[in-house]
Amino acid sequence: MIAAAEPVQRPAAARLLVIDAQGAMAHAARSSLVDYLRPGDLVVANDAATLPASLHGSHLPSGAHVEVRLAGRSSLGREDVRFSAVVFGAGDWRVRTEDRALPPPLAYGDRLALGPLVATVDAVLGHPRLIGVRFDGPADAVWAGIARHGRPIQYAYLSTALALWDVWTPIAAAPVAFEPPSAGFTLDWSLLGAMRSRGIDFATLTLAAGISSTGDPALDARLPLAEPYRVPASTAAAIRRAKAKGGRIVAVGTTVVRALEHAAARSGEGVADQRIGPGDRLRVVDAILSGTHEPQESHYQMLRAFQDDDLLGRAGDALGAAGYRTHEFGDSVLVFKKG
């Protein structure tokens, strides 16, 4: 597929491939998404706002330049300023991650100076790029430092440097994601209004979406990392209401599927550490709105829980033949669970 290189969340020409429960495929304009939903359905989105999680600075023991990409956290707590992180050496997002230099050797206790922030390596996690870091100072100062010094994580296929407004979905709330829950780019307030007027309910949860790619096959095989989430009581209640009257649960993005299936539709906080793939039975979610994904991506594995491989293969061929665009600013698929 073609990479979508411009950071436009809702291009007028965005497209949608719909795969229904019987396996029938249809091409549509993404702006007509609401036409594929029914009164009584419940749309659930991830309202995590995206942190500017790329922090440039130096590894103090060696003086070497490093880019630290915050990649995970074990809770959503505001006082929790310990992160897992992926570290690159010299260079920035303009260089493909596959071609990025390794960081200097990183050891437990090493100090990192990242703009106004200072962090300590408090774990080395079995790969030269993967560490745990803990920031110095009170939580407010750490969040201020990240807010002002950090930049959104981004990849070399984009044509321009991203600002936070490029990566916050219209419903972005708690700043806990490391990369945008980009299926939510499709949601604007006009669409939410259109859903409401047709009797389609809307609810949110918060999952700290982690890093999607590191360019290193050994590390990528460990993705997605465990992701903390919170399901509000009002969302759990909306799911029960929808299920009771035969409505379908439509997840906006893979992160919502992961959270809802982990929580089994209960409210509260948790850490989603499971992978969803072929053969997994989906207990809560009936359909997923997602970006277009290539078969080697972990996101694609999740689609295999919704439909058979040969159908997904044909869908992939159709996306390629019809010139769909991929990555976070690309086109979308709406896949219903095989009926």
Binding site: A49, D140, A147, W168, I171, A174, P232, S234
Partner: protein
């Protein structure tokens, strides 16, 4: 779930903003506030056990870092008070003597800033509404938003725009459960008023503490229960 009200106030280190911060803290709310001067922010944060955020709502680049710090500090947001204001020219000037840049500053602070910050925080506010906590945006207005006072052109035009924008936001977001208030606190003994009318007798002006109580009551009245 934490039931304390979560409030953000812009312009929280002096005048009405500081009085409102104190009133809200007194009522048990958790408060994050925004102001431009690091030393004043630190002082108010320490004195009132509030979350201080250094930033300028008139600067586009500051808005998302401010919004991030607000929701990180409070874990969500129930109430946004757009209080920070710019007079435009100080001392006040006739419109014909007002520099374009002075009008631009008033519009950036009093209209664009509240628009951008409201938009950046709308996800958090609407999440709060869906969870049954309620959501309120209070835009601090002025009688200069309605009446035509000579020399108050930049301020009055910007506050009129903010007032009308509040009404339209309110129409559009009523179904999301986000309420919009536009309230005139009256002529108060504040640094902004002293800048505008240096020779005013403070005894004839309203105390900001009194206005803050009225605004806090109005916020409480717009929330569920």
């Amino acid at each position: 779930m934490d039931h304390a009200l979560r409030v953000a106030v812009t312009g929280g280190t002096s005048g009405l903003g500081l009085a409102l911060l104190r009133e809200l803290r007194r009522r048990g709310a958790r408060v994050a506030f925004v102001a431009r001067t690091p030393r004043a922010v630190e002082e108010v944060a320490r004195t009132h056990q509030a979350h201080g955020i250094v930033g300028d709502v008139a600067r586009k680049e500051d808005i998302h870092p401010i919004a991030l710090q607000i929701t990180a500090a409070l874990g969500g947001l129930d109430v946004l008070v757009n209080n920070a204001s710019s007079l435009g020219p100080a001392p006040l000037a006739l419109l014909a003597d007002t520099d374009c840049e002075q009008l631009e500053l008033a519009l950036a602070t009093n209209v664009l800033g509240p628009f951008r910050l409201t938009k950046a925080l709308l996800g958090a506010l609407s999440a709060s509404a869906r969870e049954g906590r309620g959501a309120v945006v209070l835009n601090v207005s002025s009688d200069a938003a309605i009446n035509a006072y000579a020399q108050w052109g930049a301020y009055g035009a910007s506050k009129a725009a903010l007032r009308h924008m509040s009404s339209i936001w309110g129409e559009e977001l009523a179904a999301e459960g986000v309420r919009f208030l536009s309230l005139d606190p009256g002529d108060m003994d504040t640094p902004l008023h002293a800048l505008a009318v240096p020779d005013a007798d403070p005894a004839t002006l309203k105390r900001p503490e009194a206005a803050a109580r009225e605004l806090a009551d109005a916020i409480a009245g717009a929330l569920p229960r």
